[in-house]
Subunit: 234 residues, 2 copies
């Protein structure tokens, strides 16, 4: 493998990362990628075999990038409070989803987020293991905050509430501006967002101590039929 070969290979991966992040696997075209990389259309098939193999390579590199760059932030800090653990976790998950177009963090994060939300061909085992590991870490953080009286299913639901708040800004960062157009997009920094999500979640979790779900202020009369039919489950 010559030197120039490695260069074009890298350029192809870089271009593919951007195109896949922007359009997804199916909508991205080899011609877009090769043109952006300044290479021939046949180069993808020569260097990687086919489109899907290139995608797997992009997925793998994005995975490695996020792991080495940010995943350390999701390790338990151990001695600190659960709130700080959560704060670090949220920011570590959130940061790759942001960053401008040129930012590597944003690109890699968007590729992974797209794959997680709508798995295109086949999710690789290492990506699945990453997700499960993160979910496990989050479980632990939540457990620290809610205490031991809460059952496992509730802990998982709380984890999903947190992940929902985070992933809301992934492929759907545009949706935030759509829901709240008057709120300038650039003004929502990662830190501000991480602060809010952490605070929102900590406030909620610190009251999830009791397993009795009806002890939380639903004493009003049920006007809406939807509310009436289901509020007994609370």
């Amino acid at each position: 493998m010559s030197h120039q070969s490695q260069v074009t290979r890298d350029q192809l991966v870089a271009a593919a990362t951007r195109v896949f992040a922007d359009h997804g696997f199916k909508s991205a075209t080899i011609r877009q990628i090769s043109h952006l990389a300044g290479a021939n259309v046949a180069s993808v098939n020569y260097h990687f075999g086919d489109k899907e193999a290139l995608y797997q390579e992009v997925l793998k590199q994005s995975f490695d990038y996020v792991m080495t760059r940010h995943s350390s932030g999701t390790e338990r800090t151990g001695a600190s409070t659960g709130a700080l653990d959560l704060r670090a976790f949220v920011e570590a998950m959130l940061r790759p989803l942001f960053g401008d177009e040129a930012d590597l963090d944003g690109l890699h994060g968007r590729v992974l987020a797209r794959e997680v939300i709508e798995p295109a061909p086949a999710m690789e085992s290492w990506l699945r293991s990453l997700i499960e590991k993160q979910a496990c870490v989050l479980d632990g953080i939540v457990r620290d905050l809610v205490g031991q009286q809460v059952d496992d299913q509730t802990v998982r639901l709380c984890g999903m509430s947190i992940m929902g708040q985070i992933l809301f800004y992934s492929p759907c960062r545009a949706v935030a501006a759509r829901f709240y157009p008057e709120l300038p997009a650039g003004a929502i920094g990662v830190e501000l967002l991480a602060d809010h999500i952490t605070r929102f979640s900590v406030e909620a979790l610190q009251r999830f101590t009791g397993p009795a779900p009806r002890a939380s202020g639903f004493e009003g009369r049920g006007d809406s039929e939807e509310a009436e039919t289901a509020v007994h489950l609370l």
Copy 2:
């Protein structure tokens, strides 16, 4: 317009709703749709002009369906507590996102959710107005729960936290099972989910009374550097 013409038109819309909900605008093909409708490939272009016009029709009908069927649930109940308002809102937003393949609620909801999260060609003004209206309703509900001392931006962030928890289950319903595989998918009913999201959010919002963000339990020492760099913003 003959009677049979109207029949095939309706069948095309019905088939298109399903295919668009499953694959999105770009990936859905006219051949899929017309075959599912038992019509010719040219029928779409004859009855609607082109693929995008058919998509607009599907969007419009899904919009009307959700509006008449569920949007009443998002009206303020007025006299009841904010928590019940939130519970009704959450379930009204959540229900269309669920339901099995044959369920009309699920189909229409998924079409709209797909469009909101990743707007395909151009979001129509009535859809935009629906979103803004819903956001406004949610703002009001949140405002009722947090009180008047909280600034508008925080109210909006709280609204997005709630929407994040809801939309987490939209195209990404699979992601829940992915994060927590041992949790049987069917076991998470709409009511259970709505109960949890409502409880989680109410617990959080009821503590968002004070505008001072640092009064909420971040007194631990900062181990993680990410936490350290940003915790001063709290």
